[in-house]
Amino acid sequence: MNRRTSQVWGARAALAVLIIGGWQLATSAGWVDKFFYAQPSGIWNRLWDYFENGTEFGSYPQQIQTTMQEALYGFLLGTAVGIVVGVALGLNRFLAQVLDPFIKVVNAIPRIVLGAIFVVAFGVGITPKVLLAAVLVFFIVFFNAFQGAREVDRNVLNNAKVLGASRWDVIRHVTLPSAMTWIIASLHSAFGFAIVGAVVGEVLGAQHGLGLLIKSAQGNFDPDGVFANMFVIAALVLVVEFVIERLERRLLAWRPKTQAESVLV
């Protein structure tokens, strides 16, 4: 670790202590009411309690697992369908023109409300949450895949054609890798949306999951519980972000580093 990085890490730690310490101080001194704004020590105790004694809906890891499962399935489903449909429409101008107004209409619907329909249609199991997460993810990935498939460099495309590429060769060797830059960039925000879909789905009606715990903590006037689950969700998203970033580095190894990246490395 060189001097610069240790300074950065030192400043980060100081800032974290300042925020959490300030919060704790302000709530215990009574400047802000911990009944509304929770308290770091209370959140910590609640988390401890969750892991030690479980929750009213079963063990805490089980709740985490349920939410993660819903988010991951929804993420994978939405990504796969988004890539296929996006690239297909990117390659087929006619189809893209026909479907354009329909996509705009569907995109204009606040998609969270679809969750209500899914819960009614598919019950309180994990299916409606997976579907809601998938719908949220689909649109992000779809628009990026669509754009990526259309922004293929003409020289590269012509080169592949002259070298004898069939239609399928062009898709596999040119269109997909080219669109991949766009698609992977979208995956970062996509997983965040998958979690939103899963948690909102659980709030709308579920038997397990972190969203259900948040709803229950809210009903019990337990802000510590709400914050505790919130932080757990944030930690989960960060872990997945990290995995996606590793994946991105592997898949996009061919890309020249941008100036900003070179400075960071």
């Binding site: 020289n155 012509n158 080169n159 592949a160 070298l163 004898g164 060769d169 991949m180």
Partner: protein
């Protein structure tokens, strides 16, 4: 594999501009590249040189007239054609080895054989040791070598080159040109080479076609009778015959260049 003839007969190509006007890129272009001949096309910017190439490759269709390669009219991508583009056209997500092997992979050659032949070609263009680099990790000259190997590996009967060395510095350009001639003399495909550099055209080619500017048309065709092998491209330039031909062709080309320049200068002032 020896080259086959390229016959371009009364070809006109029109485009629709975004504003809806018809733009004639080339008009009534007729010339022939004999089998195994190295033919250079020179002309001012915007004279439809690149358009002519895309018609021969089959990437584009003529509005009128016919283009034939080896006696067969061109419909769709022409078989047995190699193309070197002006801009970078390597697949940036593939390594040097994968890029060079691409033409073979598309022709369903077995993976092992394709990679083996690609390695051989990479060695021939002097890039041994760079097989696993990505294009962005190479210099402009090295990328051109990769493009050259990728175009030659399919043993094309016709090689189309669109100012392939235009973006290189003078020294690299001279070295690459000499290497190109060596490769060409080994297998003798027919070459259609586009450039705006008259010296390069005379040094490399058996035949030089001078084109007028927009719409592009053939102004005059010169046969270059400098004997082969000509040796280093840089030294040909000082030969007497070279200077005579240069003088003669430049006299024809100069009017066109000046007219094209006057037009863009007026366009810029307006």
């Amino acid at each position: 594999m020896a080259g086959t003839a390229i016959e371009i007969t009364d070809v006109t190509k029109r485009f629709l501009t975004p504003s809806g006007e018809v733009f004639t890129a080339i008009r009534d272009v007729t010339f022939t590249v004999e089998p195994g001949q190295f033919c250079a096309v020179v002309g001012p910017t915007g004279c439809g040189k690149s358009t002519t190439l895309s018609l021969v490759s089959g990437l584009d269709r003529p509005s009128e007239g016919t283009v034939a390669v080896g006696g067969q009219p061109v419909e769709g991508i022409t078989d047995g054609v190699g193309f070197m583009f002006q801009a970078d056209a390597l697949l940036p997500w593939k390594t040097v080895l994968q890029n060079v092997a691409l033409g073979l992979v598309f022709r369903k050659v077995g993976k092992k054989e394709a990679l083996e032949r690609a390695r051989d070609w990479i060695r021939r263009v002097g890039l041994a040791g760079f097989e696993d680099r990505y294009p962005h990790q190479l210099s402009g000259g090295m990328r051109k070598r990769v493009a050259m190997a990728a175009a030659w590996i399919t043993e094309p009967r016709v090689l189309l080159m669109d100012e392939p060395f235009g973006a290189l510095d003078v020294q690299t350009k001279a070295i690459m040109s000499t290497e190109l001639v060596q490769l060409w003399e080994a297998s003798r495909p027919s070459v259609l080479f586009i450039t705006h550099d008259l010296e390069e055209a005379i040094a490399l080619a058996d035949r030089v076609v001078v084109m007028t500017s927009s719409p592009g048309a053939v102004k005059q065709v010169f046969d270059i009778d400098i004997p082969r092998p000509r040796g280093s491209v840089q030294e040909i330039r000082f030969g007497d015959r070279f200077l005579e031909l240069h003088h003669e062709i430049w006299a024809t080309l100069r009017d066109e260049v000046e007219r094209a320049y006057a037009r863009t200068a007026v366009g810029a002032a307006a």
